[in-house]
């Protein structure tokens, strides 16, 4: 991911639209950008939208776990939404399901 991810904030919920390949190389930039926004906006909920992510290795899992810890620190929550079918195997393997952060399929309210 070369460009900054697109984001949306409604006063409570911060949505980050991730795109392209998420690996160890790109995760650092996404992490820095997202954390700066969280610190600045103090959202109660962070939505990580994965609909435009074409590839992800376990760095994408670390990215979610790190934001989960950070949002917990602020008393907030994290949800991962619009997970493409190709990434499902990785998400399931990660055990993130136990943290209750993964949301099913393509929700209509997320497609906008």
């Amino acid at each position: 991911m070369l460009l900054k991810p697109k984001t949306m904030f409604d006063g409570k919920v911060l949505t980050v639209y991730l795109s392209g390949d998420i690996d160890h190389h790109s995760a650092r930039r996404i992490r820095e950008y997202t954390d700066a926004l969280i610190g600045e906006l103090k959202p109660v909920r962070l939505l990580l939208n994965y609909s435009a992510v074409s590839f992800m290795d376990s760095s994408g899992i670390g990215l979610i776990m790190g934001r989960y810890r950070m949002m917990k620190l602020y008393g907030g929550s994290v949800s991962v939404v619009s997970i493409p079918p190709a990434l499902r195997k990785m998400m399931e393997l990660s055990g993130l399901g136990c943290l209750d952060v993964l949301e099913g399929g393509n929700e209509e309210n997320e497609s906008a």
Binding site: H25, D57, S58, K89, M90, L93
Partner: protein, 147 residues
């Protein structure tokens, strides 16, 4: 096992080369006419192995990573990824899911678990101070083009 085709490539352990390595592996594997899912599994497993070299083997330094890929009879892809980095002291421990020596870098500790579940066979050979060789083996589904 009869080898039908082979390629090798060396590259520096810069994180930008993680994408190069998995793309090169996928491009070479394409001649086996893999499914989209298989191709994605190959890219993911290679990305994990190369990231380990970048993050762990050559931590804070730049070294050379060698990737050798062979195609063997029976639609088998064998990917060997070798570094001359720090090596692994305790391989079984390194392979435990969620074990990582780099939590500060937000490593999930899933690299080997992903390589294992996205391929058919994973072999890790390592000598502390000498380096590590990871071999991934994957049998791809036979396609119509096979005679």
């Amino acid at each position: 096992m009869k080898v039908l085709n082979e390629m090798s490539v060396n590259f520096e352990s810069r994180s930008v080369n993680e994408a190069f390595a998995r793309t090169a592996a996928a491009a070479f594997a394409a001649q086996l006419d893999p499914t989209v899912a298989e191709l994605n599994e190959i890219r993911t497993a290679v990305s994990e192995a190369v990231t380990n070299c970048v993050v762990h083997a050559y931590r804070d330094t730049i070294g050379i990573i060698s990737m050798n890929i062979r195609i063997a009879e029976g639609n088998i892809l064998i990917v060997k990824i070798r570094d001359r980095g720090c090596g692994i002291e305790d391989i079984p421990r390194a392979m435990e899911p969620l074990f990582t020596t780099s939590p500060e870098d937000e490593r999930a500790g899933l690299g080997f678990a992903v390589m294992q579940s996205f391929t058919d066979k994973l072999t890790v050979r390592s000598k502390p101070g000498k380096g590590t060789t990871v071999t991934l083996e994957k049998r791809l589904s036979p396609r119509l083009s096979d005679v």
